[in-house]
Amino acid sequence: MVNALVSGGIFAVSLGLIFSEKINRTIVTMAGASLMILLGSLLGFYTEENALQSIDWDTLGLLLGMMILVAMLEPTGFFQYMAVRASKLSGGEPVRLFLLLGSVTTVLSMFLDNVTTVVLIAPVTVLICEVMGLPPAPFLMAEALLSNTGGVATLVGDPPNVLIGSAANLTFLDFILHATPVVLFAWAGAVILLRILFRAELRARPINAETIQALNPAEAITDRRAAVRILIVIGVAILLFFLHGLLHVSPALVALSSAAAALVLVRPPVDDILRRVEWSVLLFFGALFVMVGGLERAGVLNLLVSVLEGGAGLPAPVFGVLLIWVVALISAVVDNVPITIALIPVIQGLGQAGMNPNPLWWALAFGAGFGGNGTIIGSSANIVVAALSEKNRSPITSALWNRRGLPVMLLTCLIASLIYYLAYPWFAD
């Protein structure tokens, strides 16, 4: 009991500090993980060896490999090129601009990091809106919301999926077969809803529509040769992701060897590229794994499992839908990574206790992914566009997000719940 209280206390205080945003989340989790090992060794429920074993190296490898690929693609100007190309294709028509920028962000987010995609595309969006004389807020919000939504579609689309895929041994193809169809419907629903919610803003005529003609996508590319090579490697990597289950290789190996191939083909200044890798994110994940490992060893998660088993009296599809909404509501206000990492052993525990864990994995993925759309702080992409809009004439406020983003979260969760409920046997498979 003491063990459970100590480890639960360390985890709860760490989560509280992360959510208060007073101290950087990586610093908090590193301190928490150290404390967990120290007190765990003293009280005898956790050792350094246990801590090392609780780190999911597959997740870290996959994230690192994808981060290196994105870090190499960033400076080539490819992301800006896509934004400028999409804008030019719109011919200055706001609704078409909205659809094209939203689609580009979604597709890139399905395979590459959401935050990087938004960080690189959003400033270009703001500037293009400014020169055309359009308010950027609807476009920025659509980019963040659709990036979060698109990320749910694939194994590599967002961190919760990477975590779930690794823990549950779900392949890239499993995600294409189970998550992608749901995301297609949810995405279409989100686009239609956003189109309706922003109808007034999108009716505004651009003051300087002729500026669209003066956009020059080719100028956005700074290193065409490198961009082409990295894109080919990413294309091959996606192909290999489809086959990784058949080939019996881990997604981490695919990502890391693709990163190696891109490095060989482009031979960039490697220190510059490695500086762009988000080491703080990797450390945050690693430290969270260590903390949750402590929770597991101290028996906290078993307590949670036995509480949740009570819910097993519910019909299984209802329990899954409930999980989607609980995880979504939590993910709307807090970071979805700690929630996912903490719930993974709980779902594994429920599986050992006799429940079918397969449908629960999908419920967790949908809840964690779509939940991030709910509030202005629900996902990193939301925070990025909000911070960017603060500096211009039509800032995205928390109130605006509650009127335009929250409905998108509710609708996407509703669509996911409906499909989940109706096609339950497909997810239970």
């Binding site: 500037l127 003051i207 002729e210 500026t211 003066a214 956009l215 100028e219």
Partner: protein
């Protein structure tokens, strides 16, 4: 060694921190200069306000996040951006930034290196009591250095 006091302009325009931004703009326009040292009652420099700080009031902040904007061939509506007139009535204090200054006895190459590293076009000069006594531009300093290499050339 040649000191900066030998090439600086001794007649230096400055402004008080309590003056309005509009007054700073008018001073820059009427003397066609790019930088105004901000001084206190004893002529001690407390900061600078320059063209860059003022023009940033109209430039979309997102420009600073992009490495290049070559792909935007026409700035359209942005060309007509004007700062809010109320902003111009605020005190200079609200937009001034800490400025680099050098002592009058400072060498020319050291002064030039400072300008290069801090990306400055004008360098305010102070005396031993830290009072503003002059200002030197890149051209003032650069030509003074070049002159020391080849000597003063007679015109025409």
């Amino acid at each position: 060694m040649i000191a900066i006091q030998e090439c600086m302009k001794r007649h230096v325009f400055s402004i008080r921190a309590s003056a309005t931004i509009r007054e700073a703009i008018q001073t820059l326009i009427s003397h066609r200069i790019g930088l105004l040292p901000v001084v206190d009652d004893e002529m001690h420099p407390v900061g600078v306000v320059g063209l860059r700080d003022l023009l940033n009031l109209a430039l979309p902040p997102v420009i600073h996040l992009l490495n290049d904007v070559d792909f935007i061939g026409n700035f359209g509506a942005v060309e007509n951006f004007r700062p809010d007139p109320a902003v111009l009535e605020r005190p200079v204090q609200t937009i001034m930034r800490p400025g680099t200054v050098v002592e009058a006895s400072s060498g020319l190459l050291r002064s030039y290196a400072l300008m290069l590293q801090h990306d400055l076009h004008d360098l305010p000069v102070v005396d031993a009591e830290h009072r503003l006594v002059g200002i030197a531009s890149r051209v003032d300093i650069g030509t003074a250095i070049l002159t020391s290499w080849v000597g003063e050339q007679a015109h025409g």
